[in-house]
Symmetry: C2
DNA sequence: GCAATGTGCTTCGGATTCGAAGCAACTGGA
DNA sequence: TCCAGTTGCTTCGAATCCGAAGCACATTGC
């Protein structure tokens, strides 16, 4: 029942602004901590964390890009940067010659371990401090639903790359 | 009671990821709509919207920077861009010679009005669609508290520009 | 096997961001 | 008034991001 009125009511506006502002403020703070603690950008941290989560410590580029929200080209850039620093390795997959498997290295894990405590502290102090346990549960639930919905709905360009023949000139 | 354990429990992690992902997805979608409908970046839209909200249609640069979350230099860049397009004017304040007053123009208001309906639609379809009214209220409350807390807590560098004399060398 | 299409990743150019440093105007105290 | 410190904004350089275009491998249909 999305009636789509031409404006938002005060509550909706408040939720929208609060979401944008809170995530911006949090992201800025976290970025600063990551930069100081391990010279990582936020994306780089997300990539390392995602890889560290994987049982094998590795993922395909495309799966990484989906997990994080960034563009393919941006991912390439950051993966190269991380590779230069020796925090990940990139090897062509054996199945698909064009697919690249990214794997976190020991040093990558070390850097990750180095920044993690500070990361957790920041989250606790900035995001969770003013919230009760029940608030946090509610937040996870509501935003989780919103995220799942947005992931399903065609997020980027409605039609990824279809170019059905272009019907001549 | 910030016990700051060395890791987060599943609920906290879920809330954190959901917040980051939901805001990222939403922001990307909105950015695309704004670009298509009025060739505006997200910051530019926020600036115009903030100015449009003001009774006088104008604000000082610093107040704008505080309202949005961006850096002063980034604000300067965007304000110049908007001025080139004739969507805002920038005039030195009469009180403070160094202060700049930014004012939205008629054309700025027109562009704002042009992108607004689509903006509202995106929000409705992506963010609010899967949420009940009570969800939205709760979200506004919780994230509002988090935002206020983060705004108070030294967000950027712990000490903005204090260089209290530097106790000479 | 070969051509047409699809998929995975990178390169390219341009836009946007930030922090540090710099300039100019204001403020308070001697 | 004059000086030191503060505040408002801009410039500068570097980093990061994206989308479009391009390249190479894979897959399908014939």
């Amino acid at each position: 029942m999305t009636s789509s009125p031409s404006s938002l009511d005060a509550t909706q506006l408040g939720a929208y602004f609060a979401l944008i502002e809170a995530s911006s403020l949090l992201k800025h703070a976290v970025e600063q901590q990551l930069r100081e603690a391990g010279d990582l950008s936020y994306v780089q941290f997300q990539l390392l964390a995602t890889l560290g989560d994987s049982p094998t410590g590795s993922r395909r580029m495309t799966d990484l890009a989906d997990g994080v929200v960034y563009s393919r080209s941006g991912l390439t850039y950051q993966a190269q940067t991380l590779e230069k620093r020796g925090l990940v390795t990139r090897t062509p997959s054996s199945d698909d010659e064009r697919s690249i498997t990214v794997t976190i290295t020991e040093e990558g894990r070390a850097v990750l371990a180095g920044v993690f405590p500070g990361h957790v502290t920041i989250l606790g102090d900035l995001l969770f401090a003013p919230l009760s346990r029940s608030d946090i549960e509610t937040l996870a639930d509501i935003l989780g639903r919103a995220r799942d919905h947005m992931r399903q709905t065609p997020p980027r360009s409605a039609e990824p790359r279809r170019r059905r023949k272009a019907a001549g000139s």
